[in-house]
């Protein structure tokens, strides 16, 4: 794959590589700078593995002060910087470039404070999403946004991409659960945005930074909202004869004002992939499956389920399977959350992230199937149906350049279809490198210019994650 261009490396930076490495070695403790060429190779990509660029060096700071020192240095000498959490981005958000210093937050993985009185946790940016919930689960709390990669992805990366997850239908995405951050600006200034309260007054800069894709600064600490665990929770499986019926059922459930915690969709190929990995007991004789999770007291769950079953009946639901135990529930979610990785068992894939109005789900599902078939490829659909956030996984053979090019072309067409249906390019994975050149399909020049002006206000030289998000042409001059 080579359709997407990166910025030309700055010759002035490349020619100073040796000095830059020497200076960074001085700024960081021992073992916190990777610079041997062979050791840089594993950092050349993230989970969008089709694209790869070697970085100049990888800094792994242990403190906010060290992050600030590296940023200040890079700012002074005009060295691009690419932030990296766990490198799980499906949009290439953490892919570096030849003249960039990667700042990896993986050594900053401490939970700093849990404050049950205020229902907050303050953590370093390298803490994984799931580690927050693990730290407070014994006390009956959890951190709500749950990207499928929550086992590995970091809160810093979640903030960068404003990540979602299965349970965001009820609880909202990262921005709805983020209260404050410690942010290091490109010149090394350390600022605190927000705090422990729901609103901090003044401009909502926290809202700007969340979803900033590492272009506005580097988050080193975050204060997030903790949510009390519900009395009970129960995932229920609904099997349908067609993807369109399942999609229409979702639209009707939400349209009736029923908001379960999660409504997840899997089509037949996805069911087969996930069942092979998790043995969760998904029904295998259906074309599409919805995992609907309800929560609350037994009575609440029963009442909500009854309404959903009634609506599903109108769409010819074939199987309704209630989960019988906590172990079974865990397996159902394990299968769903491992869907992308498990796809690796049968093929390489690229994962789309378009989001569409629910009424458009059947139309877009049909269109997706047509596009992929036209390119002679296969697709597996597994996504957050409740909020219309689609994830077609386009299957291809990475060792066949022609296959890869067709996969990329199909992906672009699917994303355009989502935008044309009234949706958007990305629901939770971010624009990264993957969707950058489609931004003009979604936004007018005026819209883009405003966004770029805000971005440039934080980083006038465009040093932070520079090849991402905004098309390379038409950027404001530094």
């Amino acid at each position: 794959m080579d359709q997407i261009a990166f910025l030309e490396p700055r010759p002035a930076v490349l020619s100073r590589r040796r000095e830059i490495v020497a200076d960074l070695l001085d700024l960081l403790p021992e073992g916190c700078l990777v610079h041997e060429p062979r050791e840089l190779v594993p950092f050349e990509t993230d989970a969008f593995v089709s694209y790869r660029r070697l970085p100049l060096a990888v800094a792994l700071p242990e403190t906010t002060q060290q992050v600030a020192a590296v940023l200040k240095y890079c700012h002074r000498y005009g060295v691009p910087v690419v932030p990296r959490g766990a490198g799980t981005s499906l949009a290439g958000g953490a892919i570096p470039q030849e003249d960039a210093v990667v700042i990896g937050l993986s050594k900053m993985a401490q939970i700093l404070e849990v404050d049950f009185a205020n229902r907050t946790a303050t953590v370093q940016a390298g803490v994984t999403n799931l580690a927050i919930s693990d730290a407070v689960s014994a006390d009956g709390y959890f951190y709500a946004p749950d990207p499928s990669s929550q086992l590995a992805c970091t809160i810093g990366g979640n903030i960068g991409m404003n990540s979602g997850g299965a349970h965001c239908l009820k609880y909202g995405v990262t921005t709805n659960n983020l209260l404050g951050v410690k942010l290091v600006l490109i010149d090394g200034t350390i600022v605190d945005l927000g705090g422990k309260a729901l609103d901090a007054g003044g401009l909502d800069l926290l809202g700007v930074v969340c979803g900033g894709e590492g272009q506005l600064g580097i988050v080193t600490e975050a204060t997030v909202r903790l949510v009390a665990r519900p009395e009970g929770a129960r995932p229920v499986l609904f099997g349908f004869d067609s993807s369109e019926e399942a999609g229409a059922c979702v639209a009707d459930v939400i349209g009736a004002g029923i908001i379960p915690v999660a409504i997840e969709f899997m089509d037949k190929p996805a069911i087969e992939i996930c069942e092979a990995f998790a043995q969760a007991g998904y029904p295998m004789d259906v074309e599409a499956l919805l995992i609907v999770e309800v929560e609350g007291s037994e009575a609440e769950m029963d009442a909500m389920l009854a309404s959903i079953i009634e609506i599903a009946g109108r769409h010819g639901v074939k199987v309704v399977k209630e989960c019988q135990s906590a172990t079974e529930a865990a397996l159902i979610w394990k299968g769903r959350k491992s869907a992308f990785g498990a796809t690796g068992r049968i093929a390489d894939y690229i994962c789309m992230d378009g989001t569409v109005p629910l009424s458009q789900l059947p139309h877009v599902l049909r269109g997706t199937a047509e596009i992929v078939a036209k390119h002679g490829l296969r697709v597996a659909n597994v996504f957050h149906a409740g909020d219309g956030n689609m994830h077609p996984l386009i299957l291809f053979n990475a060792n066949d350049p022609d296959d890869a090019a067709r996969a990329e072309a199909a992906g672009n067409e699917i994303l355009k279809l989502c935008v044309d249906a009234g949706g958007c390019l990305t629901g939770e994975h971010g624009v990264g490198i993957e969707k950058r050149d489609l931004m003009r399909h979604q936004y007018s020049e005026a819209d883009l210019a405003q966004q770029m002006a805000v971005r440039a206000a934080f980083d006038p030289q465009w040093l932070l994650n520079p090849s991402k998000v905004f098309p390379l042409e038409g950027r404001p001059a530094a």
Binding site: G31, V49, S106, A109, L151, G344
Partner: protein, 440 residues
């Protein structure tokens, strides 16, 4: 993941296998989260995904191993937590095995590192040499601190720290022979005598033989058996490992010919993982491939076999056991429930310590070769175990027993020692002071 090998490279069967493994990886990064060295060091180079990438780069370019790659591969515990986590089914074990062979073939280690590894490979697999070495180590113990002051000698300090103050007497159970079933015979099994374990804790196999014969199973300790080869296998010394494997295959299949075997019982899960892999290790040997696969199919952890005997529920003992699942048990052999179910049936209250997927840092010779990381993992493991407030700890691997015992005062036993007690044997000496608290 895309790979880049020439047809010529793929003609090497080891490369061909590794290429298939690499193709399955989608670089999702899930494995990093459960990797003990990544959570300790916070550097992707010390994570499975990082190592996979380093190995891929080295093999694709047909390069000899270099100091950097060796550093990061050496830091891998081979705990295989990554393979439990991996959704796409990447066979990391065989990939890292290949990398270790490649390192052994193409890289010359610094003198002290080479010497330490040679000493380990020449001592540990041989019970008589190991016994002698431990006696010498007991004399050297006071100097452990001295050695640890020098980077190159750290492993010697670590070895001295691990050596027990006193050694149990040589046990009859490690001598070849047949132990008859009590009453009606319901099965016949061979038992792996092992190498380091009978020197350090002969009581484990003694308890196994007592328990199995009492349950009506004839137990054979065949003559001519050697160390399973796992130690040298993990050092990349494949010829030596395969030699051991072939020898054992011959010994066990001869025993099958003699009187039939329902299983080859293994009481150290580290050995179990390797013996279950004999079929793969010898796949390229036309004479042994089939035989080795038969042996691998017969290999059973002792708890795996006991679980088939349908033992009765015993009265509650009022003792809380923290069950530590060895990595080779839970990740290597995917045995997760059987030991706990057996302990519960035997009347113990069983607790799962937090972060049970993380290695204790023992990992064969890892605690000697990588003492710093190992010590951090041990401290983390002991903290998690002690948080369950156990009366005792049970586990199924001698390495973990030795490692954890040096970090806590809570007694640690092999699962089978507790089962032997629960089903008619004597109370283990290590917990003789522990009062059983019968429920009121």
């Amino acid at each position: 993941m895309q790979t880049n090998f020439t047809a010529e490279q793929l003609a090497d069967p080891h490369v061909a296998t590794s290429e298939k493994i690499l193709r399955k990886c989608v670089h999702c990064g899930f494995c990093t989260a459960t990797c003990p060295t990544y959570v300790t060091l916070g550097n992707e180079l010390d994570s499975p995904r990082g190592r996979i990438y380093l190995i891929k780069d080295m093999l694709e370019n047909g390069r000899p191993a270099d100091a950097e790659v060796v550093t990061h591969i050496d830091r891998c515990l081979s705990c295989l937590a990554c393979t439990t986590t991996c959704p796409s089914g990447v066979d990391y074990m065989h990939l890292v095995d290949h990398a270790r062979m490649h390192i052994e073939e193409t890289y010359r280690r610094p003198f002290w590192n080479r010497l330490t590894r040679n000493i380990l490979a020449a001592t540990l697999p041989y019970p008589s040499r190991f016994r002698l070495a431990l006696k010498a180590a007991a004399l050297g113990r006071p100097f452990a601190g001295f050695f640890k002051r020098f980077k190159a000698f750290e492993p010697i300090g670590a070895m001295l720290d691990l050596a027990p103050k006193t050694l149990p007497k040589a046990s009859a159970s490690s001598k070849p022979g047949t132990y008859d079933a009590a009453g009606e015979r319901r099965g016949r099994v061979a038992i792996l005598s092992g190498c380091a374990q009978p020197v350090l804790k002969p009581g484990i196999n003694e308890a196994t033989i007592r328990l199995l014969t009492r349950l009506g199973v004839e137990v054979v300790a065949p003559a001519g058996e050697v160390c399973c080869g796992s130690l040298v296998h993990h050092m990349g010394r494949e010829a030596q490992a395969l030699e051991a494997a072939r020898r054992n295959v011959d010994v066990w299949l001869a025993e099958v010919e003699k009187g039939g075997l329902d299983a080859i019982i293994i009481t150290a899960s580290g050995c179990g993982t390797t013996i279950k892999d004999y079929g793969f290790m010898l796949r390229l040997d036309p004479v042994y491939a089939g035989k080795a696969a038969r042996v691998s199919a017969l290999a059973k952890d002792v708890t795996e076999y006991l679980a088939t005997l349908d033992l009765p529920q015993q009265e509650a003992k009022g003792l809380t056991v923290a069950y530590h699942s060895a990595c080779s048990m839970q990740h290597g052999q995917k045995i997760t429930m059987a030991p706990k179910t057996l302990l519960k049936k035997a009347g113990f209250t069983v607790r799962d310590p937090a972060e049970g997927h993380l290695c204790c840092g023992s990992a064969g010779t890892y605690n000697i070769l990588q003492p710093e990381i190992s010590a951090k993992l041990k401290a983390r493991k002991v903290k998690n175990i002690e948080a369950t407030k156990p009366d005792l700890i049970a586990t199924g691997n001698i390495g973990c027993i030795t490692q954890i015992a040096t970090g806590t005062a809570v007694p640690i036993l092999h699962t089978v020692e507790l089962l032997d007690w629960a089903y008619g044997g004597e109370k283990p000496v290590a917990i003789s002071n522990l009062a059983t608290k019968m429920p009121a």
